[in-house]
Every structure is written in structure tokens, then in C-alpha cells.
Symmetry: D2
């Protein structure tokens, strides 16, 4: 039997880092090489989270990038790109969970993120890590840009229709709701329990959330657009999960039957995407703690449909998808360690 692959986690003490560790510890073919933390370097992992994981936390500068096969980068955008470069230089593969390599156009990156890209030379080699769209390219990649949480739910929910050019109107209304772990583990008034609990609030509505750029890039890559997105994220008083309710208007010749066949055909062999039977609606309960994306289709009236798409933002929306990408990059069975 072959040795296990060694993986390193950069930025292991945020929620995505913790989730990665939980998944990778159960992964039968991976073992943890190192964990870094900016805030807790010098401590043990189990001092930072209420868990028994007893890894030392080191500073990112001390990470032995060359001694592992894969490095997961759970860093803020801007900070991540240079570490990705060093990772590749050290000969390891990099899976970047930040936004740094998601946008192929550095000008778009600068526009949406407010600063110049830190490693534009790597953009051409980065692969957008949504396996349902780019599986083959991911298999050969050295650098994968793990998609954002909202974009994962939205792109998977719309892709079959977009790919087939089914939309009559290019306007798509996306009303998304996310659990609080999506906001990160940093302390702030916005994530204070009393401010969030028993509350529900929209934020950055319309066309201002950075994830819009990623959704547009991918939907427009279909060649059937350009699409005009209206995106309204809301903060849900739950720990994890994203539900996106999407409103689309299709061409006349798209019957409800054809819509179903379009989705079911496209996702027929996908291990982590499920299209619910007519009459059932996607919910967070369908996906919590799994790497699944569950999609429901509701006809409203001729040509008008509501698509609901649910994921766990920490799993399929971040760390689970990252491991799915790792499995592809390393030639493992795609489901390995991600069974539900």
C-alpha cells in the first residue's frame, strides 16, 4: 500500500482550517504535515479549539512547504498569493481557499478587491476548483483556486440552464442566506451572538458583494451571456449552511420537463450534487456537515422558475471542496474521506 500523502494547512485556526483538519484526519490517504497560525503560533491546536487535535502551531514563515505534497491555504486574500507562489516553488501543490486565484483577470481582481494582485504570473496556471465544471483541468493542476461559498451554491444551481443557453432574460435574481461561520472567526460586533441570534439581516445587497465577480466570470464563461446578476446575501442565525433562492426566466421552449432533464442529465454522475424530485425543496438540513449540493426546481408560471441550491458553506463551500480537489489532483477516488 502506498504511503499517505502529507498535507500542510496554512492558516489552520480559522473555521475553514478547523473543518479541513476534521475532514483530513478521517481521510484514509492523508496525514497532517504541519499547521500554521498567525494568531496562535507557538500554541497547540487543542488550546485554540475545543478539540483533541494535538498539533503544534507554527508561524507561516517556518512552514516546511517542501516536505508536504499539498498545501491548503486558508489565508485572507492578498496575503495568500505570495505563499502560494512559495508553495509552488517548494514543489508542493497548492489549494488556495482565498479569493486570490479565482478571478482570471487581474484587472477585475483589482477592481473588486481594491488592491493589485500579488502574483499575477500565476493566474494563467490556476484552475478554478469547481469539479463539476473543471474536473479534468483540476486533475492536472498544481494550483487550484477553491471557489467561494456563495459562488459554489449559485454556479452549481444555475449552470445546467446557463450552459444550455436556456435563459430568455439575462437578469438573474439571487437571494442568498448564509450561516455565520462564513464571516470568519474574528471577533466583531457583527458576529456577536446577541446581534445575530433572533435576528436576520441583509447586507451588501445588489451588486456589491465581491463574490458577484466570481459568479459572473463563471456564468459568462458559458458563452451564453452576458448575465446580469442581482445578488442579495443575508446573515442567518445558524452556524453553517448557505441557501440560495434564484429566480430565472427561460425561453418559451423550455418546459418544466425539459428543465428537469437538463439538470438531471448534467448532474447524473456527480457524486456530490443531487437534484431533488419535483415538489421537494432544498434546505440546509439536506447538506449540513456534508460535501453535498442539493438543488430544487420549482416552476412558477410559463418560463419562470425558482431554483434553490443548498450547501454547507464550510464543506462544499470551502474545506470539503478543497479535499475533493485534492483527491482529483492526486488521483484518488473523488469521494475519499468525504462520504456522508
Amino acid at each position: 500500500m502506498r504511503d499517505k500523502v502529507r498535507v500542510g494547512i496554512i492558516g489552520a485556526t480559522g473555521y475553514t482550517g478547523y473543518e479541513l483538519l476534521r475532514i483530513l484526519r478521517r481521510h484514509p490517504a492523508a496525514e497532517i504535515g504541519f499547521c500554521t497560525s498567525e494568531s496562535y503560533a507557538g500554541q497547540r491546536y487543542r488550546e485554540v479549539f475545543a478539540c483533541p487535535y494535538d498539533y503544534p502551531l507554527i508561524a507561516v514563515e517556518e512552514a516546511p512547504l517542501g516536505e508536504v505534497d499539498v498545501v491548503f491555504l486558508c489565508l485572507p486574500h492578498g496575503v495568500s498569493a505570495p505563499v502560494a507562489r512559495r508553495t509552488l516553488e517548494a514543489g508542493a501543490r497548492a489549494i488556495d481557499l482565498s479569493a486570490d486565484f479565482r478571478l482570471r483577470d487581474p484587472a477585475a481582481y483589482e477592481r473588486w478587491y481594491g488592491h493589485k494582485h500579488e502574483a499575477p504570473e500565476l493566474l494563467p496556471v490556476a484552475v478554478y476548483g469547481l469539479p463539476e465544471l473543471y474536473r479534468e483541468r483540476i486533475r492536472g493542476a498544481q494550483l487550484v483556486a477553491n471557489p467561494g461559498c456563495y459562488p459554489t451554491s449559485v454556479i452549481l444551481g444555475l449552470w445546467p440552464l446557463v450552459r444550455d443557453g436556456a435563459l430568455e432574460r439575462k437578469t438573474i435574481i439571487v437571494d442568498s442566506k448564509s450561516g455565520v461561520s462564513g464571516a470568519g472567526r474574528g471577533a466583531s460586533l457583527k458576529t456577536h451572538f446577541v446581534e445575530v441570534n433572533e435576528n436576520f439581516a441583509p447586507y451588501s445587497v445588489g451588486y456589491s458583494h465581491r463574490h458577484v465577480s466570481e459568479m459572473e466570470q463563471e456564468l459568462n464563461a458559458s458563452g451564453t451571456g452576458p448575465y446580469e446578476l442581482t445578488f442579495s446575501p443575508h446573515l442567518l442565525p445558524v452556524n453553517r449552511g448557505i441557501l440560495s433562492t434564484m429566480y430565472v426566466w427561460l425561453r418559451e421552449d423550455w418546459s418544466a420537463q425539459r428543465v428537469r432533464e437538463c439538470y438531471e442529465g448534467f448532474y447524473a454522475n456527480e457524486p456530490f450534487v443531487e437534484v431533488l424530485p419535483l415538489g421537494q425543496l432544498a434546505s440546509l438540513a439536506h447538506v449540513a456537515n456534508t460535501n453535498r449540493c442539493v438543488i430544487s426546481i420549482s416552476p412558477v408560471r410559463a418560463g419562470h422558475y425558482i431554483i434553490c441550491s443548498a450547501i454547507d458553506n464550510l464543506v462544499k463551500g470551502a474545506s470539503g471542496q478543497a479535499v475533493q480537489n485534492m483527491n482529483l489532483m492526486l488521483g484518488f477516488e473523488e469521494r475519499l474521506g468525504l462520504e456522508y
Copy 2:
């Protein structure tokens, strides 16, 4: 000083009944005449809720309708109408919190509610109890149909634009989210804590929820329609509150400035409606435990706007609005007992 008015509550042991009692006990001009309960007749109120309210619970048949000035009806639709008739016959005013008198057209009622109307002769005298639209008629009414919770949030959120005929497209997307008390106090798997907590789910999406009929009736009463609503309710893991996120497309000559003036003008003197300044977004925290409706306006792109409207479903969406209607019917100051 005049004597207090006496009020009776029919169906006092649901969540709207409990909320009514909480409000009315603090109301300086009202006193409780009787409380009925189908499930708990013969017990005391304090045995049914964790509260110190020590009223006897009687069967509805025993309610001395003629000994009170106002009767609040918190009954299921179909059951409510005959009791409303008896209330009027007994000489009291009736405020009906069920759906029985909200639709002016008995055929529409039968279509949406699945059975014949039980008191169609009263429909012409019933007034739809949304004070911001029908204040003068409510003042003289003997029978008020208290609006539904979702319709209150949606109609108040759209009315200024609809009244002024600002919509270019007659299609309106309404994505609503409601707390669990809106589902009533009856035990069911759908309201089981474990099924709702850490979950979030759409239900009855598209054009199937009964409240659509009420929204359409009122929006179309503007004469600027007809409007085509797509309505998606979702169940939020909170006790109370509704937030409706609405997507509209306006005529070219409606600038953001004009939209604001339209709302601010219409609601300028309303005691319970607030239009937030640009850049702020309505949330449940704005309205919890108050009789307020808080509205925010977000421009997306030319002609396209997101309107968010928040209410507490048990207060402005039910019992608070019922007391507001009582205040109007009896000539009290409209805010009496509803200060926040």
C-alpha cells in the same frame, strides 16, 4: 375619565392570542373581558403559558359577546366567520385576525382556501385593516379584517411605488423569511425544535401560498396593475419576525432620489412605518417586539431596486396591528399601548 373599554379574545391560547393579551394588559384604556380557548377551556391562562396572567379560559360558546366593546378573533379561517357574525349581532365590534374577511371576493376566497365562505354577507362591510391604506374606513368599521403577516410586510414595502404607478415591469419578486411563531402553536414535525434549529428552508414557493391572494388584491386595488407576484416564503430559526426582500423594476423616470421621496412622502406621518436612510438595511432587530414596519431601499442599477421590509409577525403582523385598528375604531390615539 371615561371607563376602560372591555375586550374579549376568542382563541386566546395561540401565539397571537398571547401577544394580544400582553399588549392589551399594558394598554391604558382597555381591560380584558374574557378569553376563550378550544383546547384549554376550563383551565386558567397561567396554566397554558409560562406567565402570571390569571384569566379563566372559557369555551367560545360561553363567551359573553354582548358584554364587551370589541372582540378579537384569533381562530382558524372558516371557523372565524360565524363567530364574527355572532359578535356583530351581539352589538360588539369585531377584529378578525383570521383570513376570513381579507379577500373581498368570495370566489377568490373559495379558490385559495378550498371551501365556501361562511359569512359572505359580511364581506361588503368588512374593512381591510391596514391603517396606512385604509385609516379612515377603519375608524368607522364594525368589522375589521386584520391583514396577514406576510401581506403586511409586502404591501407596506411596495405600496408607495405601486400607488404611484412606478413599476415598469408588473412582475415583482418577493423573497420572504419568517420566524416560527407564524406557524402557530400546534405541535407538528415542521415546528419541532430539532427540525427547525440550525436549518433554513423554503416552503410553498412560487404562487401557492394563500397570502399571495391578499397581496395581489391590495396591490391591484391601486389601479396601476395588474401585478404578477412571485412569492417565496422561508422558515427562519427565530421565534418572531418577517423580512421580505423584494425586487422591482421601475420606469426610466424614477431616479433613486424620486424613489426615496415617494416613500418618505407617503410614510411621513405614519407612527409605525420608518424608511431607513440610504445605505442602511432593514433587519429583524429593527422591529422585534414593536409594532413597527421598517423599510430600506437599495438601488442596484438603473431602474432596478431592492426593497427590504421588516415587521414583527406577532405585532405589526398580527396582534399589534389589531390593537392599532382597535384604537382607530374606538377613537383612541393610534399609538396607545403600542409605544416602543
Copy 3:
């Protein structure tokens, strides 16, 4: 009719300050004179909380202490005492919600709070503001030390037995559970939504929480002690409320009947304390958003009883009790503005 009293709130932008404002705005005999805020001076109140309260926020140094009748101090311990002194010098009454004047012994204060008392000369004139124990002294007080939240629930729950010297063992086990608002509005990992939600955790158990000092002082003031407290606070994933479950061992001649009579007799005329009938158990639902303390008594076996005591930590445990104290100090009816 007399003019309203004017009140000032020092530190108005924490949770107790917000709760005070909510109560005082509905109080028929009070009006807001000023609100201070360390963090938000220069802004308006409505910019800090999702509410319509439109007060200017000023720095504490600019507060016109002499132009109001009563000043509520919602400041951290240590910071509060000097402002209390200035308040009294300016001729206003002070109700201090910090811990600064709760302990009568400055040495005890120094031991538990880790620094010297800032205004020891005022300790002899401060009255511990628990109306059920010190009503008459509060009526004449210029400076009231509003009790801590845990001590309010514990002292009210034990006092009748302690006063009558009913305890065989001087050991009392107090297992308390508090909502998150008790931890204040400052952002920290401990109050991050994801850390608290779906979690439940003890903290500072045994004999280390500062509120132990206050409980011991008051229970021992009965002359029937000294008592030995074991106090275990826990953090509950709710916004508000404290439930204390207390275990006591009584002398042989204390039958269940006598225990009940002891509590019912002592609290017979108390407007805000309720002793539940046998078989019912106190819960947060009994007290949420009210100034009530609800107590239940459960016999376990001969001489051994469980006393449960519930309050809303922001109301009876802080701001409601402060207003109750204000009512007493100013000769108002004690319930004024605190009806439930």
C-alpha cells in the same frame, strides 16, 4: 400634574443602557436628559442600535449631571465610582449598575476586583438596591448600588430560608445559567455567535466568579450564616435570562409545607416576585422581557430541596431593577413603567 423627572444615562450603548432606554421611554413619569457613550460619542443613538431612538451621544465629561434628577451609571467597575461621586456633587441621585458600590467592605472589593476602591468615602451612604430586602433604605437613598444579575437571582431565591435560619448545612450549591447579553456588547471570541450557538459551557466555576462576594455579603447579612457558596455559572445560547438551580439542606423541622409558607409569606406583597405552585418549575420563559423573579421549590427528600430562580438578566437583573429603584427613590408607584 408634576413635570416628568429627567434622567441621564452614562454608558448608554451597552446592552443594559439600551434596555434602560427602552424601559424609560415607556415610563410615564420619566424623560431622557442625556445619553453618553465612550465608543460612539458624536453619533446618534439610532446609528448604534437597530432602533428609532434618536438621541445624541455625548462624552461622559460633557454630561450635564446637574440638569437631571437621576443618573444611571452603566460603566465598568472602577470607572464608575468617580462618576458617581461627580453625580452626587452635582446634586443628582445616582443609580450605579456597576459593581462599585455593591460590597460594603472596601477590602473585599479590592480582593475580588483586583484594585483599590475609587470612592471608598461613598460606601457608607450607598444602599444595595434589592428592593425586596432594602425597600425602605432605597426610598431615602442618594446612591443606589444596583445588584448584579447572578446575585439578584440567587439572593431572591434563597433569602426567605436564610432569613429564617432554616439551613442545616451552611453549604449551598448554586448552578447558574446565563444568556449571552450578560457578557456585554464588546466583541470577543467568547461571544462570537459560532462559539456560543449550539454550545453550552461552564466558566469560572467553584468560588472564583466575582458575584460570589456579593451573594455571600447579602446572605451573611442575615446573621444566620456564615454560608459557604459553591457557584457554577454557565453560558447559555440565548440572548437573555438567568436560571439558578440551587441545592439546600434544611433543618429537620422544616417540612415542605413550612418551606412553602416561608416563601409565600415573605413574597406575598412583592410586585415582581412570584413563587410557583408545587409541581411547576421556574424557566426563562416565565420572566423574559419582564422585571419578574419567578421561584420554584422542589422537595427531593427529607430536608433536601431544589430552589430554581429565574430572572431576565437585563431587566430584573439590571435595568428593570434600576428603574424599580428609581421609582422608590422618587416616590413613584414601584411598578411604574415596569408592568408586564
Copy 4:
């Protein structure tokens, strides 16, 4: 490689059944033979829970007991015992998650459960399935009585001290708090979201909860008792988890050091029990979704300690422990399928 063992689940559509299925599907050596359901027989599993598990649900009478190796019984007490008998007669091993075989004395069973035992002849062969106490006996068992959730947390939290006879006083105060899944999936007002959320309440306090019998049996089996338990369960507004806060008084010669060594020694090789270092306190976050029991020890004063013990009521408190027992009974590695 040997074939997988086949398992059947009787009563698969409650929360423990669902959790069993989740664990067993990931178990590398088990496969699902059948699932029964009283309420949903004839439907598919995925119609009952928001999950992709596509098993047919059959009536218990139709379960092919003889075609599986192990049967998990997730039935109410009283109903379970006869099915256990049939399971053994069919040649399969039985792991009973009900209370039917936990008490060795049928008279005690009748006293606490209010009806005669339905299969008293099996009591002598049933083994109490707490591996930390009875590992060897479980290995050879045909019938295992899976412990109750509260008893698991309490017995594991107290056992080292009890075994060594460390307690000076035989009185033990146990203040437990449980998530709502412990109350089952049946719809009732007590588990209605609005009644539980933002609430916290004790129930069955003192000496009345049925699980007391189980705790006493096991603690007294040490021979160092008899112990006198005071047990206060409370309902927490979370889905899963139990935290028990326990108050004990030890003999003089039990220093804090000796207490630690007692626990650390006893649990040194236990795969699922962790004793936290001094200063850390057990919480639900330590154990959620794992088969772990986490214990903390807090000295209060000479001889007086607070022991906190946390488990996930659905995993170590039910289905995880059942699989741990299965692993032992079938000679698998004890951790198999239960890694965290």
C-alpha cells in the same frame, strides 16, 4: 478480506435511528440490511429525513431478523424487549437502545417504568453496554443494553472516584443539561421550536427522572456506596449534547493531585474519554458529533470538587456507543467508524 457484517435497524426513523444510519454508512465493515419504522413503513428513508439515504422502510414484523448479524433496537421501552427476544431467537445479536435491559432487577424496572418487564428471562444475559466499565463482558455478549444518555455522562464522570471509594459524603448533586434531540422526534408542545428557543427550563428534578435508577445501579455496583443522587435535568435550546455538572465531597486524604491521577489513570487507554488539563472546563463544543466523553475536574475547596462531563447525547449517549458496542461484540477495532 471478510465480508461486511449486515446490520438491521429497528425503529430507524427517530433521531437515534438516523444517527445510527449516518455512522453505519461510514463504517468500513458494516452494511445496512434493513430499516423498520412504525410511522413510515412503506416509504423510503429519504422521504422521512432531508438526506440521500435511499432505504425502504418496512414494518417491524417484516424485518428479516435472521438475515443480519446485529440488530439495533431503537424502540420505546416495553416495546423493545419482545423484539429483542425474537432477535436472539433468530440468531442475531441485539443492541437495545431502549431502557428495557439496563436495570438488572425486574422489580426496579417495574417501579421506575410503571409496567412489568416484558422479557425478564433475558435480564441475566444482558450486558450493560458501557465499554469503559464492562468491555470484556460486552465482547462476549449476545444482548447489550445500551446505556441512557444522562447515565453515560454521569457514570463516566463519577466512576473513577466511586470505584476508589473516594467520596466522604454519599450524596452527589448532578445538574444536567440536555439538547432537544434527547426528547425524541415526536411532535409535542414541549419540543415546539418557539417553546424551547430562547428558553431554558428544568424538568423532573430531584429524584424522579427514570435515568436515576440506572445511575444508582451502576454507581452502587462499585460496592463503595450506597449513593444518594439528586438529579436535575434541564432542557437546553440546542439540538444535541449533554453537559452534567456534578458536585462531590471527598475524603480528606484525596488531594487535587490524587483526584487527577485517579481519573487520568483510569481513562489512560480509553479511546473515547478525555480528562481535560486543570483549568479547562468541559463543554458541548468538545464533543459535538463525536463519540467522546470529555471530563473536567475543578477543585472548589478542601475535599469539594466540581466534575463536568460532556457527551453528544446522540453519539456517545446513544448511537455512537451502540456502534462501539457492536465493534466490541464482533471483534472489530473499537474505534472503527467512530474516528473524530
